[in-house]
Amino acid sequence: MSRKLLLVLVVLSVLLLGISVTSAQMEIPRGGTVIVSEGQQAPFQAVFNPYNPNPTRWTRMSMFEPLIVFNPVGGEPNYFLATSYTYGDDLLSLTFTLREGVLWSDGEAFNADDVVFTFNLIQQFPGLDWHGLLAFVDSVTKVDDYTVTFNLSRVYTLAHIILGRFWPLPEHQWSTVADPVTFANETPIATGPLTNVTAVNEQVLEICRNANYWGRDEAGNQLPYIDCMRQPVFLGNDPANLAAVNGEVDWIGNFMPDIDNTFVAADPENHHYFFWPGGGTVQLYVNTTKAPYSDVQFRRALSMAIDYQSVVDIGMYGYTIPANPTGLGPINEGWISQAALDAAASMGLGVFDSAAAAAVLDEAGYVDADGDGWRDQPDGTPIVFPVQVVNGWTDWVTSVQIVVESFQAIGLNASVDTPEFGQWLNNLQTGTFDVSIGWSASGLTPWDFYRAVLDSTLITAEGVANGSTWGRWVSEETDGYLTAFVATADEATQREIMNNMQMAYVTNIPAIPLFPGPTWYEWNDSRFTGFPTEDNYYTQGSPWEETFGARLLVLLRIHCVDDTSCGQG
């Protein structure tokens, strides 16, 4: 045997071995019911209308699929019912190519007619406009069976993200529905991986796979690998956590205090968690229409007085990180402007330094005029402010207690006030507060965050602040950045606008960022695997995530691990 032949044989056998190894890896086990928990969960009702304000869990982004899922981690598009999108040259139209060969769960074919029908339905019944499409879409045109063009009423370069989240409805079912707004859709027809509802009652929701699902893995196997998803009702966080610790659930989105010593310690090999701080930044909102909170020096002193590390370590159990002064969290990492960070550093923002904070107040004239031990306004009016926080939200309440101690340490008469949720929300929206903790929004670009906090058009004529505009910040400069950002598709221009926006945010301090919101996510590897892990965080893992659609990406990857887990009913 020549050496050449031997070499060829060796190479061939290695290749063959390699192939057999990879094909063994491709043999992904199928079946099984994955058990899900999201913490406290109200009893289920059968409302499988994705355009209902509060449909049954798993209706959106698993039963009904969007055109495109933009991954919250990294921002890459994952094409579902569309396979591509292009803006027209004037940015006034957006064309989607739709996926061919998709069947509705009842076997009918999906095509452009369904998309056109759904948008026209939303136009006819504005109660369905859950995405806010009518604010920028005029009409939709069918180009051919698998191409649709949305005609925009104004240039809006985030249109592809919002329209990407649009859920087409089956025309053959919905065209006979008299009032789609009040339609509960108890027997849904959809295109997603889970469409077959096998239980929905006061104790459990169970949805099983769509036999007609179009999705295939690289080896050509039909997705999803799992048979069913079952979500038990837990009426409180404690029973939900106890079930998780007990190993009864596989895919979890609960807040768990002291998680290392409870959940993880119960089964260190299989119980894991990763709290990606990709949620909206939690901030301290100040009512910028009232003195002394209208004074930027006062707000600057507040920002310098807070012990951020203790807030994060004690209030938030170390589950997140301190925010940076631009307010942008890890979800917008690539957008953060170094110039803005430098400016913030030179102002001392976001760094705990009581002495420096006190000095700022002294210099601005906030001294103790009446000798009661607390600082007063320069005109002598006492400063007394309760910091509001929702009753019962223990992590936030502890955080606010630490913030209030920080304020008291620099001579400010602050206290903690814990109204009930509805009352608290009303206080913030109507401006009957001085200082309060609150959430904000987060999106694929920083626009969503700044829009939620700063867009003065979200404040109604009656003075009700929508979104997170509770601080009542009204500025032509920041409003201008928000409009300019969505009027251009040029990334360099968009970056420049957002750099300016960040600079405006740190120099004006319209709100004081505390920490990016952690996203609760735990998983149990003993029966199912393929979940996002800390090392391979391919998307946000929380099972409740249905804004971006990350949940769909997870659903299509997880699979059972052995005969028991694959065969369980």
Partner: protein, 324 residues
Amino acid sequence: MRFLARRLVFYLVALLVAIVLNFLIPRLMVGDPVQLIIARFQGRIEPSAVDAIKATFGFVQGPLHEQFFTYLSNLLQGNFGPSVMNYPVQVSQVLGASIGWTLRLVGTATILSFLIGTLLGIVAAWRRGSFVDGYVLPFLSVLGAFPYFWFALMVVYVFAFNLRWFPMSHASDISLRPDWTSWPYVSSVIEHAVLPLMTILITSVGGWMLGMRNNMIGVLSQDYIVMAQAKGLAERRVMLTYAARNAILPALTGFAMSLGFVIGGALVIEIVFSYPGVGFTLLQAVGARDYPLMQAIFLLITLAVLVANFLADVAYVLLDPRAR
């Protein structure tokens, strides 16, 4: 009969007042349902969706007098309208899912607790200083004074989580399809009811026992008891038909009240055991300012309390000749 007729008129007036208050009180709370629906998403929805939600929920935002007339006409038709937080599901359907569990669990627990507590109270008073009087009574009273939430959590932790004698949560095995004709399902319902039932029983029996014992002691000092004993009646007969029959009268009103409140559910038990019921539904409805759902539950509680009180009045008439 005049007594009962007078009571009936009184209850009708009480019902009318309750219907009006039932409409007004929820609406005095600050906050409106539409904003709360949006807020529950904590910034995860597009702010323009507010228009869509307002278009859907116009019916909870109309002028107060219009809402009141809708409410009245709904009531007359026995229809509470759609629930806000479960829109468009009807209130009757939302309640239908939980009310059965509540009536079975809390109803059984209340009746058992009253029966056991009263019997123990009779025994404790009759045999003063005995084991039942000296040890069981103080022990049950102490248990009854425990923080309810903590006690229920401990019960779950010890008997379900550590010892695994009973399931931790739910009212039945959730992998079984609800079917009251199948034994595996029914037995799982019974198995799941044991811990919550025992928790309610243990924490509530002490109150009934103490009340009955004290009533009995008052009655036992009456002349007619001495008279009955002097006539040589059997101990049991004196204890039950002479003493207990009179001592139970005040307890009956309390029992009627608690029977009426059964329909309100047992919130803490429901949360700790994830046991479906009206209590949690009401908590949620209040949090979401779901006026139609709240009204329905409050009205049912009012009705149940009134009916139970009327039945107690009837029982009074039967037990106590002086009321006739």
